[in-house]
Amino acid sequence: MHIMEGFLPHPWWEIWFAIALPIVAYGVYRLSKLTKKIPEAKPLLALMGAFIFVLSALKLPSVTGSSSHPTGAGLAAVVVGPGITSVLSIIVLIFQALLLAHGGLTTLGANTFSMGIVGPFVAYAIWIAAKKVRLPTSVGIFLAAAIGDLVTYVVTSAQLALVFPTAGGFFDAFLTFGSIFAVTQVPLAIGEGLLAVVLFDFLAKYKGQLLSAMKVIKLPTPASTHKEPKQQ
């Protein structure tokens, strides 16, 4: 969904920066609080960033001044929280713009808003809701990652439609962009959901201590083992 460098004209690129930056600032605050409290979380945070980088660099071209790819931000939102994910995303997006010419610096605000803010916050909300209604962990992770990915593209379509209207108005342009993306994005989102389930299982199995310190999962304590059976 990385919108190409320069694709958004003035004043849209400034507007998206103005919307995205306060939330990233909140993320920086959360990040410095977490790394002070649990310094051992740093490798996991950096790994999540690298994961977002690698997944969102696997792009399929799309004829919308953009591209189609998994985002990885849904899993990151579940593991490190949506605020911190927005910081990781903006860093990753800068690297992709600089190293791969994928996305751009002026479109950084818009891309951060879709991939680093709306996607992760929706994914996190779904994950919390799934936990509330006691869905199995794997279903919750799948839904969070897949829907978080799709929502990102809905936002990108809206961002493009605001700049490039059709005769049918904003909504018509929005549907046009959305349907171009949907062809490649729906299968990719399902794939990303499945991958997220596999990876989260691995993380819970090998790094359960760290995840429970970050309050992502509850490790069964001896007293509560019979009440809440371990997922693995």
Partner: protein, 265 residues
Amino acid sequence: MAHSELYAQIDRYAYINPLAKTSPVTKMLFALSALIISVSSPSPVVPIIVFAATTILLLRLAKIPVHFYLDMLAYPTVMLALSCLIIALFFGTGEPLTQIAFPWFMWTIFKSGIALSVATFLRVEGALSCLFFLVLTTSITDIFITLRRARVPKVLVEMALLIYRYIFVFIEVAEKMNTAQKLRLGHSGWMRRIRSLALLSGNLFIRTLEQGERTLTAMNARGYDGNIRVLEDQPPAKKTALAGIIIFDIMLVLAAYLTLNTGVL
């Protein structure tokens, strides 16, 4: 994968080009100010000037080979041209240019759609040339040192440097595991290939994480306090270069005002 090799070269040029040892502040100021003015300009003339100026600087001063620069531009330009074609044919409002009647719907091409498409094409090419100037002349390390000096929060720069390192760890670990799987016939047949891929993606994650944890332990043992210090040997910005950039920017803004009413069509 010629495409990905191309991008591996960008980093190499950032270190070996004749401008590599000049002040990163100057280079960043030039690229970013030209980028912002070019993207914000309503007139299509400014992106053309910016594209010409950055291209000449890249080829003459930074001595980037012409064929490499063209290779870099080729992929985004093709994608951009396709996107702009779609915009020209299907987008726009207001005065129609031509109408083609199909049995089931009326296809209208709008003047404003074509104007929008041409303006977008020029704007993106101008912006891309600025971005390429920045990445081909300035290394990532230099950019981060400059950001740290510009008082960007420390925790952000630290996280960025860690992620940067991790991207390469990730790729190295993946390559090693892929080779190992291939050697043990892990890629013989469809089902086995999918199973190998699942094993690789899961283990890749844990392996990279563990390697990172060991690195952090090693860094802690050497007194890591949240600051990653690197040798900062970049020269300070030259006053003449800064003055030149400011004059160039003022000229761009003037050009934008003078050609304000120049439509594309």
